[in-house]
């Protein structure tokens, strides 16, 4: 039926014109489409990591609210930051801390033992203007005097020894 309407002349012309059409052999696009899942792999990996983190945060806090997760992180991290801080301060400022600690420890020594045991009680009281302040100030003065004199004597003795030794060697 169709061959009657579409004669051999038309068929020959169609064949000739389509034979002149040269197919373009570019790279098969389906091969690149095949590799698309691998391209999405990093995104999938990142999404899965985020999902695992969110799930673990939900399990740890018991709340699906991300704000609560943030608060929990702050409360967990703050004590960790606070605990190591005294150590570095002691290490960083030894000259300032040692003079203040040594007089306190040395201050009871000049006084008698009974007064040394009683002295901590007034310090805990909220009124610093009473006796403890006077005791503290007196102890501080005495301690500073002792330390300075001690250092001076030690220095003098060292200087004397150096001088004596040097004098003896030179002589």
């Amino acid at each position: 039926m169709s061959n009657d309407t579409f004669g051999p002349d038309l068929k020959a012309r169609l064949r000739g014109e389509l034979d002149r059409v040269q197919p373009r052999f570019s790279a098969p696009r389906y091969l690149s489409a095949q590799a698309r899942p691998l391209r999405l792999a990093p995104a999938f990996l990142g999404a899965s990591v985020i999902a695992i983190l969110a799930l673990s945060a939900f399990v740890a806090t018991g709340s699906p609210n991300p704000i609560v997760w943030g608060e929990r992180v702050v409360t967990v991290l703050e004590p960790i930051q606070a605990s190591p801080s005294p150590g570095p301060e002691n290490h960083n400022a030894p000259p300032a801390a040692r003079p203040s600690q040594t007089p306190e420890r040395e201050s009871p020594k000049p006084n008698e033992g009974g007064e040394a045991e009683e002295s901590p009680a007034p310090r805990e009281s909220p009124e610093p203007s009473d006796g403890p302040s006077g005791e503290g100030s007196s102890s501080g003065e005495t301690s500073s005097g002792e330390t300075s004199s001690g250092e001076g004597t030690a220095g003098e003795s060292l200087d004397d020894s150096h001088d004596g030794s040097s004098g003896s060697t030179h002589d």
Partner: protein, 183 residues
């Protein structure tokens, strides 16, 4: 065409691509009359076919199956081009109309130009039958219609194509540039 392919096998799909791509490209060239668009649609069709390759059933010819995907792709492409041209026409409304370039009309082959004026399904039936040598059953598988419908479509397409080509038949051996003959 009677080659045996295994659904889902990449090697078999590569073989199908090597065999069928030139034929699919020519079919789409006849429908679209634009090599760039034909290549684009053919490549898209093979991507689509590759994604559905594991679902292909060997009872239908593989090349006809790819042709079906490609013709549908060409139909949607022509539809989008038509919508775009309507938009362009509405934009140019009121301005002096721009005629087509006469050089293009001379360059375009007559039968392919006439095929382009037909609905894509009729043009595809013509090419599959009279260029690729498909029988009605294979065309029916390629276009997703019954064999009886294919017979009707081929008859209609042949008549419309002949009617579109009648002026060129009557002009027969006239030169492309009549003024040159006078000089």
């Amino acid at each position: 065409m009677s080659d045996s392919y295994r659904p889902g096998s990449k090697d078999d799909f590569d073989r199908l691509y090597r065999t069928a791509y030139p034929r699919v490209f020519r079919t789409l060239s006849a429908i679209l009359a634009d090599p760039d668009a034909a290549e684009d649609c053919a490549q898209d069709a093979f991507v689509q076919a590759f994604q559905a390759w594991h679902r292909w059933r060997p009872d239908a010819p593989a090349e006809a199956w790819v042709h079906r995907i490609a013709v549908n792709r060409a139909i949607s492409y022509r539809r989008s081009v038509r919508l775009r041209s309507v938009g362009e026409m509405l934009r140019r409304l009121g301005r002096p109309g721009m005629g087509s370039d006469p050089a293009d009309e001379v360059w375009s082959p007559d039968v392919l130009t006439a095929l382009r004026s037909l609905p894509p399904r009729l043009a595809a039936a013509i090419v599959l039958r009279h260029y690729h040598g498909y029988n009605n059953r294979e065309i029916a598988a390629a276009l997703g219609v019954s064999e009886r419908t294919i017979g009707t479509r081929l008859h209609q397409a042949g008549e419309r194509l002949r009617a579109a080509l009648e002026p060129s038949f009557s002009l027969g051996g006239t030169p492309a540039f009549p003024r040159d003959s006078h000089e």
